[in-house]
Symmetry: C2
Subunit: 235 residues, 2 copies
């Protein structure tokens, strides 16, 4: 195994707490009451359906920044929240300023000593550059949906990354907090590593609490994955 | 200006001295007489013509690693040099172990404090990952020909990078040691910075010794470019 690619939203960065904190900051600055938790959860609720519209040809190729903006507009209307264009642009960029989980930077740093580490994300490249800078993520390479003009779980994303790496799928491992992402990767011959992020969706999270497939590695977090890989330990 | 993308071979790394040193090492190990300087120069001589065959549709899309191998085989035959398959594979990977010019790492490190810094290279991504690791180049992002399936000076490469950066061409600057590369970028609206590498082609280099266009910046080297950009100085 030569390269490890990572799902980013939820696996490497804590999008929910980061969005809520930025909504709270905006509320303090504007004096407006903003239901930050509800907005964060509902906004993320639009995520998969919005990409599915693109995946199924109901909407032409659209980068995630623009899908986020479309769902934000719908969300604000549903909640009767009145934000002007500048505020909407600012809110949409909340996704560019996400905090890493506590182990992420140390884990990636340890892994890149021995492996190529990259993203394998549905975020667009310009979004991922900002996330990397803000969270100080030490990537070797960024694989983003707009390189392939496909969204995971489309096979073009997983196999496209392997092809650009010049590696057979069996030399590439996907690390993700989501069983469905790993399932798609495994079916195409990639190695898989599951790490649970039991609070990604908040305190009442019900899914992806445990490994649900025969993954090559199951680790506590990214740093623990680095330790297991060095010790030759597996799932 | 928000992002600076770099030509790599010749601009950031010293391919010629690096190839010659590796040929010398191979000669010591095998006891075989190897005309390292001649091979380096002639191998590089095949570079543009081999990409032009792809650019003009005479050969289907082929990554640079494979073009290098095709021209290496021709070169060895022309010189009557007998290397087996394993040796040829090793020699082809000389391009993966290139040394940076003395200012490159310091210059890129200074620039990435204020700009996104990326490659904009005809090398393939897997090749560029090895070069980055070997030379310890602190890229934020790798733009490589195989992302676009086009070689510079095709417009798809320059404009494809701007598109993925989410920036208009005027917010992106190409830094290169080659006037022709800058000319293609400028025609598409990118900013330009020329740095001379007067020994890239050896002691008798005759081209690209001076700026030959109206470039936005002309600097001594990459570190000097970083200093000029901070001081607001221009060409």
């Amino acid at each position: 195994m030569k390269a490890i690619v990572f799902d980013v939203f939820g696996t490497v960065v804590d999008w929910r707490s980061s969005l809520i904190a930025q909504f709270a900051e905006l509320a303090r600055e504007t004096g407006q009451a903003i239901p930050g938790e509800t907005l964060a959860d509902e906004w993320r609720g639009h995520y998969a359906p919005s990409m599915d519209r693109v995946r199924h040809g109901e909407q032409p190729w659209t980068v995630l920044d623009d899908l986020h903006r479309q769902s934000l507009d719908r969300l604000l209307e549903a909640h009767g929240l009145d934000f002007d264009e500048a505020q909407r642009q600012r809110i949409n960029r909340f996704w560019h300023r996400l905090e890493p989980w506590p182990d992420s930077v140390a884990g990636l740093t340890a892994l890149r000593r021995h492996y190529t580490v990259g993203s394998l994300t549905n975020g667009n490249l310009s979004l991922m550059l900002d996330v990397a800078r803000h969270a100080e993520l030490p990537w070797n390479v960024l694989f983003c949906a707009d390189l392939f003009r496909h969204y995971k779980p489309d096979r073009e994303v997983y196999l496209g990354a392997c092809d650009l790496l010049g590696l057979p799928p069996g030399d590439v491992m996907l690390c993700a907090a989501h069983n469905s992402d790993l399932s798609a990767a495994q079916a195409l011959g990639l190695k898989t590593a599951f790490i649970p992020r039991p609070h990604e969706y908040g305190p009442r999270q019900t899914r992806d609490l445990h490994a649900e497939g025969d993954w090559d590695y199951v680790a506590k977090d990214i740093l623990d994955l680095a330790i297991r890989l060095r010790s030759g330990d597996s799932a």
